[in-house]
Subunit: 124 residues, 2 copies
């Protein structure tokens, strides 16, 4: 399965409520204790991390992340109970879906794909 | 499952040998009989369609698409036997993986996600 990438996205209207990047961000917030720390750990700007949290909080019936008042560098954030539950359900669903991959079709594709691509030819 | 999007990508080194867009392109080539016609039907440039075909042909042990000599607008393309087989295996694998989705974790996520997101607040 090393050569397979499965991306599982859950939509809310036109927005992505949950996906691989948002799940990773939730994990980082739980670990780092702040949106800015989580963004830094993931190499994304505070603004981008904040926007992803905002989408999640607007897409779920209850917010997944709550921020502590305080302001500045001391402001913290943590997952709500709903946030922890959504993250766990997403991880479990991903594992379940990946568990469904083995079989003849995957084996046929894996056997047909080279270990590395041939070199691209330069054209005009 | 309407709110779920599953993207299944198969890698060859750093390149994506097969994924949703490439599978759609193979189908379009089989239907349209040329790379240019397939690209047009999918709203992509000839150059982009050609590059995607080139990646597939370099990633698989045998080319998935063969082009007919002829040149200009009459040049045609069709799937090889390996191309037809890879497309069929990818579609079957996708269906199999999607069939693995139903269950408690998916139900929990679906129940927690709103039908539409709340409006974004404007910040500074």
């Amino acid at each position: 399965m090393a050569r397979l990438k499965l991306k599982l996205q859950l939509y809310c209207g036109d927005e992505i409520a949950m996906g691989p990047g948002k799940a990773d961000l939730l994990e980082a917030i739980a670990r780092e204790g702040s949106i800015s720390g989580a963004g830094r750990a993931m190499g994304m700007s505070y603004r981008r991390a904040w926007l992803l949290v905002d989408v999640m909080n607007r897409c779920f019936a209850k917010p997944l992340v709550e921020t502590h008042p305080g302001g500045g560098k001391l402001a913290g954030a943590r997952l709500t109970a709903e946030g922890g539950a959504a993250l766990a359900a997403y991880r479990a669903l991903s594992a379940q879906v990946e568990g469904g991959v083995p079989g003849a079709d995957y084996a046929a594709l894996e056997a047909a794909i080279r270990v590395a691509p041939l070199e691209a030819q330069l054209h005009g």
